[in-house]
């Protein structure tokens, strides 16, 4: 595996003076080809800002972004659209398909923007949509598609120019559980079968199991996931030193709030056996997660 995308010491500051906000602070990360990287964190932690910087949508205030060995953060503004068009595929939370175009045209348009002839663009779009199980829906407008179908069209659109990196912003946020898993499996297949790097920003705990690596972003900084635990009641990731704890039978449990701990204790008399199932796999996931990238 080779490093596709790397960011080093990236900081993003919005505004100036007393009102300035540092959304991302000295973050370093790298993504390998064929790897699925999941960036998690609470709302306002800087996830989307970081994804924007990785995708050349935003220029970092400090630090560098390197794509296949090229420092794209140093490129002039006019050179960035072609980089985004050919090297990145974007999957958005709200799908952002063009309402006036059919599924096929939505996908083909991006190839046409990259200079592909219309007939060829349509042919490739058709193939991709068929691969993604949408052969019967190519002529449908976005309004006529379900959420899961829209997101699959968006994935096809992201793939049409054969980019190095797929960047997905909360791709399951507007989907039900079943569609969400389907989309995540598709994104994982994109990484594994096509050798693309997939970076997903999400706070959806359900999708951790498809990621090769999970990093936690909070207050604009990456946190060491080894110091994190999952609240067994609500599923939220909580830091050890900020969590409400409960020692029980020699085991220390971490909760995001007293309410969750109370609920957990209340259920000990009832269907307590169902709870460990929620913590078990996640705990093992944490064991698999690499330490914080320096």
């Amino acid at each position: 595996m080779t490093t596709t995308l790397a960011i080093r010491g990236v900081t993003k500051q919005f505004g100036h003076g007393a009102t300035s906000v540092e959304a991302v602070r000295g973050v370093g990360l790298s993504v390998e080809s064929g790897e699925v990287l999941l960036i998690m964190g609470p709302s306002g932690s800087g996830k989307s800002t970081l994804l924007s910087i990785m995708g050349a949508l935003l220029r970092p205030t400090a630090g560098t972004v390197t794509l296949n060995g090229v420092a794209i953060s140093q490129l002039p503004e006019r050179d960035l659209p072609p980089v985004r068009l050919r090297e990145f595929g974007f999957v958005f939370q709200d799908f952002n398909l063009l309402a006036a175009l059919s599924a096929l045209e939505n996908v083909a348009l991006v190839a046409e923007l990259a200079g592909t002839a219309r007939a060829e663009a349509l042919r490739r779009a058709g193939e991709l949509l068929t691969e993604l199980g949408l052969a019967e829906r190519v002529a449908f407008l976005p309004d006529q598609l379900s959420g899961g179908e829209k997101q699959r069209v968006a994935i096809a659109r992201a793939l049409i120019n054969d980019p190095s990196v797929i960047l997905a912003d909360e791709p399951t946020a507007n989907l039900d559980s079943s569609n969400g898993h389907e989309i995540m499996r598709t994104l994982r297949a994109v990484a594994k079968e096509r050798g693309r790097s997939v970076v997903i920003v999400s706070h959806d705990q359900r999708i951790r199991d498809i990621a090769d690596r999970v990093v936690w972003l909070e207050d604009g900084q990456l946190r060491d996931l080894m110091t994190m635990a999952v609240d067994p009641v609500c599923g939220m990731s909580v830091e050890h030193d900020r969590a409400v704890t409960l020692e029980q039978g020699g085991e220390l449990r971490f909760f995001c709030s007293r309410g969750c701990r109370a609920e957990f204790l209340g259920e000990l008399d009832g269907p307590a056996e169902t709870r460990p199932a929620r913590t078990g796999p996640l705990a093992s996931l944490f064991q698999a997660v690499r330490p914080k990238t320096p």
Binding site: S48, S52, F92, L98
Partner: protein
Amino acid sequence: MLAWRNLSRDPIRLLLSVAGVAVSIVLILLLVGYRSGIYAQASAYLDHAPGSALVAERGVADFFGTTSTLEPRVVEQVASLPGVAAAVPIVTQFVVFEEHGRKDGMFLVGYDPAKGGGPWRLAAGREPATDEEIVLDGVAAGQHGIGLGDRIRILDRDLAVVGLSEDTTFWSGSMAFARIGALETLLRAPGLRSFLLVTPTPGASLPSLTTAVSSLGADLVPKSTLIANDRRLLARVYDAPIGLMVAIAFVIGILVVGLVIYTSTVERRREYGALKAIGAGNRALYRVVATQALIAALLGAGSGAVLAVVGERALMAWRPQFRVEIDAATLVVVLASSLLMAAIASLVPARALAGLEPAEVLRS
């Protein structure tokens, strides 16, 4: 494709924008056509009269705006000047004509039917054979309820209407034609001649002829100069208000297209933002917006042109004294204006797109 789909997705809005532009184009075409019609009417007499130049009283440089009186010796001597093939005398006088309680301007032309200078097309009847007869403009006669054989009073004399002419209405009334003798009597000015319609001999030098006429104490003015000066006179009256109305109609067209395209752009802000994030350059997005504006403007211009031609015919059938001339050149100019309309109308939406941050699309 995207531009057309964006527009056609909301047919009512598209229809409204096309209708808005069409109304603006109809207004522009009718106003410009009306102006052309006024100019055409103003030069109709000189366009059809014999000769290529007129001898006029010294200092007279237009046909309709000033009274010209030639000295008898000028009238006699011009005809015998070398280089003059023919010199047809006419008498002109603007009078106010009243019949059946309705007043109208009338430009009387006294002429010799044997030499020319009278009506060039008769809708009915004949040219005047005596000094008691007159040819009226057919439209004016119709408005006053006058027919062939009727007698009308002009100044203090009764004249019999023996002919009805066509194409002789003009901006401030209509033309009427009588024999020179009739006008001499009406104006109590025996021997009065206003102009000579001069036909130079082939190869005659116009500058020499001008000098020769000048030495007689009169001016030889080419028809084209008189027509241009008459138009200049009209321009002082009509061009400013017509120009203002055309400008207003043009701005309305721009506003209609601009508003529709701007609204459509703002509504699709997120879609355009996504396209920008994906890698579409500003130029590609401008093209979409400009094409949308162009489609709306061209559809509007096309429908407007058709409506204007229909309107032109309807207006001239309803009020024949108003001549509206929409020619191919005007249509081309208006079509070009609609392109300009589209270009200006897409400026603000393009600016909105230019200010769109691609990263915005990630902010829910």
